[in-house]
C-alpha cells in the first residue's frame, strides 16, 4: 500500500467514529434498495420520461385537433390524415408500453437472484442473521412493487391520452395495445413477467441465460395472451336483414366475425354463395334472411381486462409461490 493512502486513512482513524447517519431505511429494506439502486433509478427515469412524453404528445394532439375545429365541428369533418396520425401515435406508444413488461422481466426479474448466485453474494447475505426466505421475500417484494409501479403509472398516463382522443381513438380496443397496457392488465402483466424472470434466475442460476430465457418465454406468453384474448368473454351477436343497411352500432364496436343466418338461426360462412352466378338466389335457396355480426362492445372491455389481469396475477403468484416453496425446502 502506498504511503499516501496510509497517511490519509490514519487521519480518518484518528477521529472518533462518526455518529451513524440517520437511517431512514433499515435491515433488508436498506440492503435491497442499495443493491438495486440502479434498477430503481432506471425505472424512475423511465416513468418520468415516459409520462412527460405522453403528456407532450397528448398536448400536441389536442392542439392540432382544436386547430382543426374540433370539438366545434363534428369529428367526421376532421381531416382523415390527421386521424391517421393520431391513431399511429397512440399505436406506437402503446406498442412500446406493451413491450415494457418483457423489459421488466428481463432486466429486473431475471438478474434479481441469479446475479447474487453468480457473485456469491447470496451466500454472503444468507449467512448473516437473516433467513433466506426473509431475504427472498424482501427482494421479490421490491422487484414486484417496482415493476407494478412502473407499468401502472405509465399505463395511467397512456389511458389518460387515449381518453382525451375521444372519438379519434381507434375503435378496435380488443386488438390494440390499449387493452394490454391500461387498467389492471398492464400491472398484472408486469407482475407476471417479473416473477417469471425471478424464478428463471433462481433455477438457471446464470444471469445471461435467465435473461434470454425470460425474454423468449415472456414474449411468447404475451403473444399467446393476445391471441387468446377473445376467449375472455363471449362476443355479442347482432342480426339484421340481408337487404337492410348496416346498423350504425357496428361502426364503433369490435366486429370479430360475420355470418349469414337463416330464420331458424342456422349460420353460414360469410363467403357462402360468393362465387355463385347469382348469389342472392343461391342464398335465398339456403333460407338465408339475415346478416349476423359477432362483436365486442366497449362496455365489455373492463370486465375482460380484469379477467386477464386475474389470470396473470394468479400465474405470478404461482411462480413466486414456487420460488419460496423451493427456498424453504432446499438451499438456493
Amino acid at each position: 500500500m502506498s504511503t499516501l493512502t496510509r497517511g490519509a486513512t490514519d487521519g480518518r482513524a484518528a477521529t472518533a467514529p462518526a455518529p451513524a447517519p440517520a437511517r431512514r431505511l433499515r435491515g433488508l429494506a436498506w440492503l435491497v434498495v442499495r443493491q438495486h439502486r440502479t434498477a430503481l433509478i432506471a425505472c424512475a427515469v423511465a416513468v418520468v420520461l415516459g409520462a412527460a412524453w405522453i403528456a407532450y404528445r397528448r398536448g400536441a394532439m389536442l392542439d392540432t385537433l382544436h386547430g382543426a375545429g374540433w370539438p366545434a365541428k363534428p369529428p367526421s369533418e376532421v381531416d382523415g390524415n390527421l386521424l391517421n396520425r393520431i391513431i399511429n401515435d397512440l399505436g406506437s406508444m402503446g406498442s412500446s408500453l406493451a413491450f415494457l413488461p418483457v423489459l421488466l422481466g428481463v432486466f429486473l426479474g431475471a438478474p434479481l437472484i441469479s446475479a447474487d448466485l453468480e457473485n456469491g453474494t447470496a451466500r454472503l447475505v444468507t449467512t448473516q442473521s437473516v433467513s433466506r426466505t426473509r431475504w427472498l421475500v424482501w427482494k421479490v417484494g421490491f422487484a414486484l412493487l417496482l415493476s407494478a409501479a412502473t407499468s401502472g403509472i405509465l399505463g395511467l398516463f397512456y389511458a389518460w391520452w387515449w381518453r382525451s382522443a375521444g372519438p379519434f381513438a381507434p375503435d378496435d380496443w380488443l386488438n390494440s395495445p390499449v387493452f394490454a397496457v391500461t387498467g389492471p392488465t398492464g400491472v398484472a402483466t408486469a407482475l407476471f413477467t417479473t416473477s417469471l424472470g425471478i424464478l428463471a434466475g433462481a433455477l438457471l442460476r446464470r444471469t445471461v441465460v435467465s435473461m434470454a430465457g425470460t425474454f423468449l418465454v415472456s414474449g411468447f406468453a404475451l403473444v399467446a395472451a393476445e391471441m387468446f384474448r377473445p376467449l375472455l368473454d363471449s362476443p355479442r351477436r347482432l342480426a339484421y336483414p340481408v337487404g337492410a343497411e348496416r346498423p350504425a352500432l357496428l361502426d364503433h364496436v369490435v366486429v370479430v366475425d360475420e355470418w349469414f343466418g337463416t330464420a331458424s338461426g342456422k349460420l353460414y360462412g360469410w363467403g357462402t354463395c360468393a362465387h355463385d352466378s347469382s348469389p342472392e338466389a343461391c342464398r335465398s335457396a339456403l333460407g338465408i334472411v339475415d346478416r349476423v355480426a359477432d362483436h365486442y362492445t366497449k362496455d365489455q372491455m373492463a370486465g375482460m381486462q380484469w379477467t386477464a389481469a386475474a389470470a396473470f396475477t394468479v400465474l405470478a403468484a404461482a411462480l413466486v409461490g414456487a420460488l419460496l416453496w423451493r427456498a424453504r425446502r432446499r438451499a438456493l
Binding site: T5, W30, T121, R123, L124, S129, S131
Partner: protein, 314 residues
C-alpha cells in the same frame, strides 16, 4: 473464555456436534456418517484433500446445504433452529462481497442484518489494515478484501467462526497479517474457530484441535496435543521385504520403504520395542500420513466423541 453455562444446557460446551451426519449429491455421498464434536473455545483445523467433504461440512453448518442424514448441532441447538444464525459467522473461500458497495456500506450491511452487530470491532479491523472506508470494494486488493470479510464476520460477534480456506489466495505478508488478526480477535472474544485449510504449517502454528476428513468420513478428531503424541515415527530394516512382525501389535498408519529400510508412522498400542530408531513426529507429519492413507483406522480422542461428556467436561 466466555461463560458457557449461561446458555443453560451443558451442550453449549460443544461448539459443533455431528452425529451420523451425511450429505448426498445425487448418487455420491460428499459426507457420510460423520460423528465428532468440537469443544467451545478451540481453534480447530478442518483438514482433508480436495473433495474430502470439508466445504460440504461447512455448508451444512451454515445451512447453505441441507443434510441428507444425521444431525448437526451448534452449541447444542440444531443447525436449523431459528436463533442459531446469530451465533456463527461464515467466511467462504471466495469471500463474496458486493463489489459496488463501499467499505462503509459493506459494514452497514453487517449492521442492518445482524442484531448483535459490533460496529466498533468491525471498524477497528478495517482501519488497522489501512482500508479506506469510502473505497469501493472492487478497488480493494485481495488482502484488503479478506480483511473486510473478516471485519464483517467478527462484527457479527460470533461464538463460532467457520472459515473455508480463509487464506488460500493471500500473499505471504497478507496471510501473516490476517492470521494474527484471526488469532487475536478469537482470543479476545473467546471465539471458537473451525477453519479448513491445505496449509499444514499454518495449521500447526494456529490450531489446537484437529478434524481430519478423507473421502467424506472423519479420519481423526481431537486435541492436537493428545493426538500427535500418540504416534511415533519408526525407522528400521525390513524383515524379508516386510514390516517386522513386532510392529503388527501397533496400528500402522503409513509405511514407506526404500531398499531394505522402512519408515513407518504408527499409533502405539503399548511400548515400542525393537531394533528401530524412534522419533516424535510433528503435527504436519501425522496429518500427511493420515491424508495419504485414507484406509487407516479412524482415531477420535474422547473429547471428540459425542457422548463422552463426563470425562471431558472438566
Amino acid at each position: 473464555m466466555r461463560d458457557t453455562t449461561t446458555y443453560g444446557t451443558a451442550d453449549a460446551r460443544w461448539a459443533l456436534e455431528a452425529r451420523g451426519l451425511g450429505k448426498r449429491y445425487r448418487r455420491r455421498w460428499a459426507l457420510k456418517d460423520c460423528t465428532f464434536r468440537v469443544p467451545a473455545g478451540r481453534i480447530a483445523a478442518l483438514v482433508g484433500p480436495n473433495g474430502a467433504g470439508k466445504s460440504t461440512l461447512l455448508n451444512l453448518a451454515t445451512r447453505l446445504a441441507e443434510p441428507s442424514a444425521g444431525e448437526l448441532r451448534i452449541f447444542g441447538a440444531p443447525a436449523d433452529a431459528p436463533g442459531t444464525m446469530g451465533r456463527w459467522a461464515y467466511l467462504g473461500q471466495d469471500k463474496p462481497l458486493f463489489k459496488r458497495f463501499t467499505v462503509e456500506q459493506t459494514l452497514r450491511m453487517g449492521r442492518e442484518l445482524n442484531p448483535g452487530w459490533d460496529q466498533r470491532a468491525a471498524e477497528r479491523i478495517v482501519r488497522s489494515g489501512q482500508v479506506p472506508l469510502d473505497a469501493r470494494v472492487e478497488t480493494l486488493s485481495g488482502g484488503q478484501r479478506t480483511r473486510l470479510a473478516f471485519a464483517l464476520a467478527f462484527g457479527k460477534r460470533p461464538e463460532l467462526l467457520l472459515l473455508d480456506e480463509p487464506m488460500a489466495d493471500l500473499d505471504p505478508v497478507a496471510r501473516d497479517e490476517i492470521g494474527s488478526l484471526l488469532l487475536s480477535e478469537a482470543a479476545e472474544h473467546g471465539t471458537t474457530v473451525l477453519m479448513s485449510s491445505h496449509l499444514l504449517s499454518e495449521i500447526e502454528d494456529m490450531c489446537d484441535y484437529l478434524v481430519v476428513l478423507a473421502e467424506g468420513r472423519v479420519r481423526m478428531a481431537g486435541e492436537a496435543d493428545e493426538l500427535v503424541p500418540m504416534h511415533t515415527l519408526v525407522t528400521g530394516v525390513t524383515e524379508e521385504d516386510a514390516l517386522p512382525a513386532a510392529l503388527n501389535a501397533h496400528t500402522v498408519i503409513e509405511v514407506r520403504t526404500s531398499g531394505r529400510h522402512f519408515t513407518a508412522l504408527v499409533r502405539r498400542q503399548g511400548p515400542l520395542q525393537g531394533p528401530w530408531q524412534l522419533t516424535e513426529p510433528g503435527m504436519e507429519e501425522v496429518l500427511l500420513a493420515y491424508l495419504r492413507s485414507p484406509g487407516a483406522p479412524a482415531l477420535l480422542s474422547p473429547t471428540a466423541v459425542p457422548g463422552h461428556r463426563e470425562e471431558s467436561a472438566a
